[in-house]
């Protein structure tokens, strides 16, 4: 007999849920998003003989209220998709608090199987749990497991299948919440059942509990269904609220929570749990914390770890990045070789290969970053970073976890905003997370560095180091100040509570790290790859079309012929007429010069060139001419493009040697001066992020609006700053 079941896996963060999910499903996972939100939805398959078990990994939550997206998603999934069983994973060393979520499943009535995880760690702490008694008192099966080693997981799944096969009706459990609440609950429940209010979807008593807990999601659904009845219920709740506040200085939601814990304590005291050691004994984890969060050693060690993460991400990924670059270089050469000269070749090389290469070039970086972060996260250290830095980042409306995104984005000069923006996933509070991911691109990423180096070298060569340092500090200032600005305007709102668990230090498992890294990297390739390819082709077309008019092309062709006639190549010479090396070099130089002049003219003539010229009407305020404008437009595709485009616009080669001479050309050009250079530099540092970053912002923020916002907001800000500096500077210079 074959059978198929669908179950949900739920539990607190840090309870080992992901480890269990990985142990059960291995590589048979599928990661997606819940519709309309950025919360990840992970599904996997487990096979038990002839039975296929479809497992949905719900987001880790402490509770089932409606305050965070994760909780709403988890709750809606349980209610609307009705999995046959919910496997509730519980950290055995932390039984009392973990059971708080369990009581909420019981209130809902969904069949539960408890996976009592990390019984080995609990035993080391002297905690003995009588699982049969726990099962008896809670009325649900309890299976002890060790997710890391796989111990007990088969038994867990057998039990789960057994429960699922029973196809039990949902049976909400009635817990007592004290006299006042209980009597109100009865009144509410009666009214709810009598008019069939929301009961098609939810159990009646459960709706009543949610009204008492002032659950916004349920109340607004209730108002839509039956406004009059909802008002009546709300009035009842208000009455009991007033009574509780007057007599006991408390709230209905607090009473409900307190009694849930009371219910748990009642069960645990009936001989379910025994502690062999004194509860205050310091565990290894606490001893490590004595050093790692120490007032002096803590920040020192944190600095080393963050610097280590940065080095690991950027230095160690250098080799694979070079491999990829040379691979794409080879591809370009191959295309150059195989395809006839012309538009198609240009499209394949400059549009497609460069575009795809641009996206895939980030892959090693992202893999290394996620691997590093996975180590920090799985080991428990990341929570300590947030803990230590929270005080500082709170000033700017962020929280302690923001630091990583900033550092990876280039807080230590030379990062990259793509992994930086993706790293904001570790922030649990939505507004702080948005503010961080929108400001992280202000940091000096690795692609902005050559631009900085070139301009500083050309115009401020006597104080290079100071200027570099100044730009790094300025980036931090701009990012933090603008984060604050966002938090008091578009992302206004009280800071999200920072009640954070500092989980015990654990050794991450290699399997977990690899799965973690791979699934995130793959998501990046899939989503960014397709969009970037399209955009890269558009940018290529803008800089290519319309091509030069025929008469200009002819003129350049004629010039080339003249050179070729004046300096005949060996083969044409026929016979033994010797051509000196000097002549060969001269011929190549002159031909290249004509090609560059033609490329420069073509660029000016192209769509991008015309836009650049049209923009001069506005950009002159900040001192930008059309050449700079074209380069800046190209820089939206990738900041690396800025220098090469500027080179083409000045009819120079785009290679390394060209860059050096570009600096010399700009320094010698009377149109340029240090004030203009500074204005351009500031603009480049803070204007629209590159497209890969914009795509990442869009994905992480969950809407195109935020991607567009970051482009417009950053560009406007950068332009105003550039105007200010240019206009003020011009007064003094």
């Amino acid at each position: 007999m074959t059978a198929q079941f669908r179950i949900a896996l739920a539990g607190n963060p840090n309870s080992g849920k992901t480890t269990l999910f990985n142990a059960l499903t291995g590589s048979r996972q599928h990661v997606g998003n819940y519709p309309g939100v950025t919360v990840e939805k992970k599904e996997g398959v487990y096979r038990l003989e002839n039975t296929t078990i479809d497992i949905v990994d719900l987001p880790g939550t402490y509770s089932l209220t409606a305050y965070s997206e994760e909780e709403v998603v988890a709750r809606d999934f349980l209610i609307f998709e009705k999995p046959q069983v919910i496997v509730n994973i519980i950290d055995a060393a932390n039984l009392e608090r973990n059971l708080y979520l369990t009581t909420q499943f019981l209130e809902l009535g969904i069949p539960v199987v408890i996976a009592l995880n990390m019984i080995d760690a609990a035993r080391d702490r002297g905690i003995e749990i009588k699982e049969d008694r726990l099962a008896e008192y809670l009325g649900v099966p309890v299976v002890p497991i060790i997710a890391r080693t796989g111990f007990g997981t088969r038994k867990l799944m057998e039990e789960t299948v057994r429960q699922a096969a029973k196809k039990k009706e949902w049976k909400p459990k009635s817990i007592s919440y004290g006299e006042d609440i209980d009597s109100t609950l009865l009144v509410l429940e009666e009214k709810i059942i009598a008019s069939n209010f929301l009961t098609d979807t939810y159990p009646g008593r459960w709706v009543a509990i949610k009204y008492l807990e002032s659950d916004q999601q349920i109340i607004s659904r209730g108002r839509k269904e039956n406004a009059a009845l909802s008002a009546e219920l709300e009035k009842e709740v208000e009455a009991v609220s007033r009574h509780l506040l007057e007599t006991m200085e408390t709230y209905p939601e607090a009473m409900v929570a307190d009694h849930r814990y009371g219910y748990i304590k009642g069960i645990l005291q009936k001989g379910v749990i025994s502690h062999k050691y004194d509860k205050d004994r310091l565990y290894t984890s606490d001893r490590i914390d004595k050093v790692l969060t120490n007032r002096f050693l803590g920040p020192l060690f944190m600095g080393l770890v963050l610097f280590g993460l940065y080095t690991f991400t950027f230095n160690y990924s250098e080799l694979p990045v070079t491999w990829l670059e040379s691979l794409f270089g080879q591809l370009s050469l191959l295309a150059d070789h195989l395809l006839p000269d012309g538009q198609v070749k240009s499209l394949v090389i400059s549009g497609i290969i460069d575009g795809v290469g641009g996206v895939l070039g980030f892959v090693p970086l992202i893999m290394f970053m996620f691997f590093g972060i996975a180590i920090l996260e799985d080991s428990g250290y990341l929570a300590r970073v947030a803990f230590m830095l929270d005080r500082i980042f709170r000033i700017f409306g962020l929280n302690g976890s923001s630091v990583m995104a900033y550092i990876l984005s280039g807080g230590i000069a030379g990062g990259c905003a793509v992994p930086g923006v993706m790293a904001t996933r570790t922030l649990r509070s939505p507004k702080e997370r948005m503010a961080t991911l929108l400001t992280a691109p202000f940091m000096n990423c690795g692609a902005k560095l050559p631009v900085l180096a070139l301009f500083i070298g050309a115009f401020f060569s006597e104080n290079k180091a100071q200027y570099m340092f100044f730009f790094t500090i300025l980036s931090w200032t701009v990012a933090l100040v603008l984060a604050k600005l966002l938090r008091v305007t578009v992302l206004r709102g009280e800071s999200t509570p920072f009640v954070l668990e500092l989980p015990p230090y654990r050794f991450p498992t290699l399997k977990g790290l690899i799965i973690h890294t791979w699934e995130k990297t793959w998501q990046y390739i899939k989503k960014a790859g397709t969009v970037i390819l399209g955009i890269s082709i558009i940018i290529w077309a803008m800089m290519t079309y319309p091509g030069l008019p025929a008469k200009d092309k002819e003129r350049f062709a004629l010039q080339r012929q003249e050179i070729e006639a004046a300096y005949p190549a060996q083969s044409v010479a026929g016979g033994n007429m010797a051509v000196s090396e000097q002549e060969v070099a001269e011929r190549a130089r002159l031909l290249a010069e004509i090609n560059r002049a033609e490329a420069g003219m073509a660029l000016r003539y192209s769509m991008a060139g015309r836009i650049g010229i049209a923009l001069e009407k506005v950009s002159f305020l900040a001192g930008f001419d059309w050449r700079t404008n074209i380069a800046l437009i190209g820089g939206v595709a990738a900041k690396e493009v800025i220098l090469s485009t500027l080179g083409t616009a000045y009819s120079l080669g785009g290679d390394q040697e060209g860059n050096v001479s570009l600096g010399q050309v700009l320094a010698a050009d009377p149109d340029w001066n240090p004030v203009k250079a500074l204005s351009v530099l500031l603009f480049i540092s803070y204007y629209a992020p590159c497209f890969v970053t914009v795509i990442c912002i869009t994905r992480e923020a969950g809407s195109w609006k935020w991607g567009a916002f970051s482009m417009i907001f950053n560009t406007v800000f950068a332009f105003l700053l550039a105007i200010l500096v240019y206009q003020l500077g011009s007064l003094f210079y």
């Binding site: 402490y62 305050y67 060393a93 200085e249 709230y251 509860k279 984890s285 606490d286 954070l500």
Partner: protein
């Protein structure tokens, strides 16, 4: 035995929570972590800038900001 707000507790001081005077999201998050009346807590330490504070609760370590700790009243053990 004396009652005080959690913010004013010293490192390594122990006590039993007597009240959590906050509703809404913050109140809920505090309760989610097991910080309810009757729970025994120990101040484990503070961040380098004295804020947030780390507590030991029911075998785990929870950190919260001082202004969040202001809603929690504790009966401290001498």
């Amino acid at each position: 035995m004396s009652r005080m707000m959690l913010r004013n507790m010293r490192k390594n001081q122990k006590g039993i929570i007597t009240a959590v005077k906050k509703n809404g999201e913050l109140g809920r998050r505090i309760r989610d972590m097991g910080l309810v009346p009757g729970t025994e807590i120990t101040v484990q330490g503070r961040a380098p800038l004295y804020d947030p504070v780390a507590l030991r609760v029911m075998g785990s370590v929870i950190s919260l900001r001082n202004n969040e700790a202001d809603f929690i009243e504790v009966e401290v053990q001498p």
